[in-house]
Assembly symmetry: C2
Homo-oligomer: 465 residues x 2
Amino acid sequence: MEFDLVIVGAGSGGYEAGLYAYRRGMKVAFVELSPETVGGSCLNRGCIPSKYMRHGAYLLEKLSKAQNYGIKVEKLSLDLRTLAEGRDQVVLTIRENFKKFAQKLGIPIFYGRGILKDKNTVYVEGSDITLKTRYILLATGSSCADLKDLPADGKRIFNTDQIWSLREFPRRMLIVGGGAVGVEFAYIFRMYGVDVVLVELLDRLLPSPDIPEESSRYLARKLKRLGVDVRLKAKVTGYSEEDGRLKVSISDGSVVEVDCILLGVGRKPNTEGIGLEEVGVEKDSRGFVKVNEYCQTSVENIYACGDITSPLMLAHKSMYEGKVAVSHMLEDRDNVRNDKLMPKIIYSAYEVASVGLTEDQAEDEGYDCAVGVVSFMSNPKAMDDGEDEGFVRLVVDKQTGNILGCHIVGPHAGELIHQVVHLMKANIRVDFLASSIFSHPSLSESIVQCAMEVHYGPISWVKRG
Amino acid sequence: MEFDLVIVGAGSGGYEAGLYAYRRGMKVAFVELSPETVGGSCLNRGCIPSKYMRHGAYLLEKLSKAQNYGIKVEKLSLDLRTLAEGRDQVVLTIRENFKKFAQKLGIPIFYGRGILKDKNTVYVEGSDITLKTRYILLATGSSCADLKDLPADGKRIFNTDQIWSLREFPRRMLIVGGGAVGVEFAYIFRMYGVDVVLVELLDRLLPSPDIPEESSRYLARKLKRLGVDVRLKAKVTGYSEEDGRLKVSISDGSVVEVDCILLGVGRKPNTEGIGLEEVGVEKDSRGFVKVNEYCQTSVENIYACGDITSPLMLAHKSMYEGKVAVSHMLEDRDNVRNDKLMPKIIYSAYEVASVGLTEDQAEDEGYDCAVGVVSFMSNPKAMDDGEDEGFVRLVVDKQTGNILGCHIVGPHAGELIHQVVHLMKANIRVDFLASSIFSHPSLSESIVQCAMEVHYGPISWVKRG
């Protein structure tokens, strides 16, 4: 069978690229491991099921303040089985819709491992089908990394592929890793009443250079307030099982007893055993596929997107890169891959959103920055909603007024940040944002307030001379 | 005392303009009726207290679906007194912060009615102070309009100045007017268990040409589903009081018995008795102050903003116009008043947001339009949040690709629409939006999906030929 484009991997990135290529008139086919893995890690074992559980946690937090709205909740009972059923139903619905939609459009999905035979040939192992194609897009995603000393068994020690099978809340759990996965699950389980110990090797949660320390600290304080036992600069040094519970030794000298452990410790790109070496697709030392700004690999008709192109493993990075790749196949050079412009959004006890440079990064790159910070504390909509914690930070190049970065912590940060993403992508300066239109009351107002702080200088509680 | 700028009215518009003028280096003073009215109608008797109550209603709706998240609420009790206390506390906090902030900055507030004596003189009645000033900004806002046949008494028949005194939920109420006020309060009271009859004279709710019929219909269906008795093309023809209840006759021939009536029937500009005629500030036949695109009145150093400049009575219109006026005083011509670019946002059983032209308006103006519609039904974040109703509509000029309007109904529409507001203000075309970056999963994704529908043509469940 002959196609314009064969996409190896029907996860978020592959799927989005496929639909986009279809829109642009290409004849497309997907290759995906099995009917159960359509949608990839994000849909089946990542952002979609975790955001469902996180919404439940968020509801519980809202409920704890419902009395301020004249709503008295007399009795509450919590149940992981029902939560998991609702979650799994959403995942199933999206996955089946994916498949039905592809079918209606006439885009075939071939099931099995896709292996490159030559630069125009993909062999689908399992289905034993060979596909000929002009272009190939590699979108094979990533897998959980293992910890040698803490092997996941899916019974007491879970990785993020396995945690979904849990059907009863543990009384006490330990989470290894204070990155996105760790802080999201710490919030989820804590709000559902679990005692959570969160262990992070470095000296802050969300220890990414793309996320300002202020965001991490702010989140850590809230998690602690909610009762999460946050241990920084710490690691698990050993464990033993006793009477069905785990005794875990931590490098700070303490020993905690828990019912289970969740590992949130990173992922590795799926770039082994799919014929990349045979057709000459180059990888770096960590196993990532080398791509240029148009997501083209070292073989010019073979492209790659998503988790296999860089350690920034975000579904929407993959979706964007998939579209960049397809556009390039169609000789459109307008869009290029850009990890910096990717919003990084974590849904924990707050929504934590970042795009572009932090103040530290901007200074390292030699910018003379103006930084504005505005709290949600005085935002009327945030006050009305009982969610007046958090802030908007803007990092701006003093010389040009260009917006270098934006960092929002607080209510709906994950949606709000898009306003700044678009303006950054369009190279629109902070003076425009400072004089744009914002509805009142809205959370978005804090963005314009912040832009005004940067553009006109801070207005403060201190009387001017 | 001599000032650069005296602002008559410290409501949302006046206050924002005052802070902005201060930032820009002007010596500013406010004139406001009394310490209790600082913040104006929006803060004290409008959007801020109603959004607080609406958040309670929204929480109750979320609670009704909490079981899907493994949260079983066994017993719930509702109480208007506590709701009202929380609400009034937020209003008070914002009002007092307003005053403290002005004081710290050294911006005086003179209490009393501001009356123009000549084009550089404002007399503050009550305080008996005369202020000399280079510029004057009129920001006097609006008042509830009366219905001759349904006189508000604050006991059984409430207008939107009076409804805040209610301390117990009525069993059954009638709301006159299906505009923003009517649909917001219908949702609030309904969710708190009140039987609500909503009477609207015209054939749709939110009967504004700026809001597409689709949005109105969608909202009406939901309100009905929640149990609101929506009566379109109907009006109150009479009423009588019997045994402490009101028997209200409706033009459809029915008679309903209710405990109280809320009037949501429009407002009139506050432009009487403040000396406008004496100094030559021109008004139109409806009492609105005539202004040019820079908010300048017929007297060149006197400006006006907000509810007194046009029937579009939105706090943020006033805030924006106030800044346009101050900018013009400082010889900045970049921004002009623009009712079309003002987002219109209603917080009812859905958030209903509109900016720019509807399809009907665009056609009337001679545009050849492309319209995209994308439902939240298939948006993964909306599904995770259990709020997958609503849609994004984009109205685009086929010839240029310019975005003419955007209309969102559904979760957080009031925040989401800002993404499009900024791009419209920056004259950025739909092709940019179609290829911008959106996080996954996010509600914002529905905006890019919609932009792609418009730009590349609809992708549908029908197989292409």
